[in-house]
Symmetry: C2
Subunit: 354 residues, 2 copies
């Protein structure tokens, strides 16, 4: 069942030899593609798109029809778990996600339960099953979740934030309440990701978008500790094959050693670190994913290729590198530039895998 | 003339012995103080406050009346230079600063001239002179500027930004245009800061708020290079005393060695790096400023003192540390907590200076 036509991505995550460096793009299914916008319009709002397995599958596959990507990633939102916990997720145009009933105190934390991945969250598993079926073994399917800290920032702030005032107030004034919340969310993430694997996900990624707003000590206490708990609780093998786990903390470049020590298979890098330094620091332990500045896709094809060459040369010879952007692709990027990027990775990486 | 009653801050920047660790707070004159709000209301809008030397002096001195701070910092805006270049600075409530005429192309860069610090920017020098006079030698006065890259982000984006799309498009597609702009801004910053010193500033700080959104290579090319040029061009001694220069790049923790190599006297740290690591990396070259998470001021007095103790112990014995927050104080902080913080630094640091 797990016979993949292209398993370059899984092999690179496990540092097994590959013919060229695999590549995918965070938010590769998204608004920079006109076909995505058309499907999204058909679905209505964003969450309706996530909740419709056929349409979620359609947008997941769209970038693969355009580009020779080495992986597909489940189309979903990072806030499905808090929504299933009853916080009332909604989107206001131009404002980002919001919650009707944010977490403000211990009583709110006591009230929330662990959502059933095949209950309130079954729409996600249905999407995973549909996408896996429709992928027909072409490339592996990545499942994902937000990190407990990142999910908690939205749950406590009630939406996006700049200064993270409310959750930091909770972290510093009522740390026990926040730890209770993070622990519940971590348990939910474990069952959620394991259900994604059972439904067909072949690799897992945890997005810690907001861990980088913490001090080193607070990062370990409020974010990394719970990602480590998740890594420990995950199904690491399925269908006779390893299920690699990638942890990504945006602006986490100073804590790579700590992240690698969780037992994850790979560490995601944003563009603020030189991949050569990252490899020197943790390349003996884990694979690396990254790390071109997404804004580089605004540049000319020549400049994009130059940057790809620079990053490939930084990583150097051998397997253990999954090329990606350092964060999601911007919505106003020309899809042709994304194509230039992907082809450049494949073409320019061949000499590093002789 | 430069006889200071308290020169702890200047001494620490030059690693000369002190009796306790000096402390000030970024944005210490600001909206968390009710007396600031009253003066601001009197002035009208924000720029009118900056342009009125008496009122700018008043808000600069307000935090010093409440707390035993070891330095005063000129009350002004980082966007005075682009405003004086004719870009038309204005503020929309809740929106941050904006420019009526942002820089979009080479022709726009060609048009802008170097503002005269005692011409269009004389209001800043008048504020410096007034504050210096009214400080009566109590503590030193810090002058400041934004870094060329940080100023250019506002000039090209037309205001605040999240993804820095326009300036990165320029950096990657028209790097020569951006370099021309950065070079002009750097020249202006040099004459602006040297005029502040001539007017009475006893220390200088350059705020690179947005350098951390660049890759290491792009940071060196578009931000650090121009800060290094400024450091080279500054008056480093005045009134028979050194004028120390501090460079601060938010999210610049991975590039400390490069920042320290510019020849600056001190490097500002945000809270995402452990100060013990920073000292091990660059403590032989420069003094360090920082680095408590500003959100820690939401915590209880006990927790604030615990964090201060942690940071003091991280830096360890000897001079070369100016305590500060890792970024500006939040506007909804209880002023009493700021007082707890400042007193904790003074009291808990004594044993490190025996």
């Amino acid at each position: 069942m797990n016979q993949l036509k292209n398993d370059r991505y899984l092999r690179a995550l496990l540092k097994q030899p590959v013919d060229k460096t695999p590549v995918w793009m965070m938010r590769q299914a998204g608004r920079y593609l006109p076909e995505y916008k058309a499907t999204r319009a058909q679905a209505g709002d964003f969450m309706s798109l996530c909740k419709n397995a056929e349409l979620a599958c359609e947008v997941t596959l769209q970038p693969l029809r355009r580009f020779p990507l080495d992986a597909a990633i489940l189309f979903s939102d990072i806030l499905t778990i808090p929504d299933a916990m009853g916080l009332g997720l909604y989107f206001e145009t131009g404002e980002g996600p919001k919650f009707e009933r944010p977490i403000t105190c211990k009583a709110d934390v006591d009230k929330i339960g662990l959502p059933d991945p095949e209950g309130e969250l079954q729409y996600v598993m249905n999407a995973v099953r549909t996408i896996r079926r429709e992928l027909k073994g072409e490339v592996p399917l990545i499942g994902f979740s937000g990190s407990p800290w990142t999910l908690a920032t939205y749950m406590v702030e009630g939406g996006s934030s700049k200064a993270f005032t409310k959750i930091k107030k909770m972290a510093f004034a009522e740390p026990k309440t926040l730890h209770m919340l993070l622990d519940k969310v971590a348990d939910s993430v474990i069952s959620y990701l394991n259900a994604q694997v059972a439904a067909g996900a072949q690799s897992l990624m945890i997005f810690d978008t907001w861990g980088g707003v913490l001090s080193p000590r607070d990062y370990r206490e409020f974010s990394l500790q719970y990602m480590a708990k998740i890594v420990d609780g995950l199904t690491r093998e399925n269908e006779g094959r390893k299920v690699p786990v990638t942890l990504f903390t945006k602006n986490g470049g100073m804590w790579l050693e700590d992240i690698a020590a969780t037992g994850c298979d790979a560490v995601g890098l944003d563009w603020t670190i030189d991949i050569a330094d990252a490899k020197a620091r943790i390349g003996d332990k884990v694979a690396l994913q990254g790390n071109m500045d997404p804004s580089m896709l605004y540049a000319s094809p020549e400049r994009i290729c130059d940057e790809v060459a620079h990053i490939l040369s930084g990583f150097g010879e051998g397997s253990g590198h999954v090329f990606n952007l350092g964060h999601g692709i911007h919505l106003d990027v020309d899809p042709e530039h994304a194509g230039v990027f992907i082809n450049a990775v494949h073409e320019l990486s061949v000499p590093y895998h002789k």
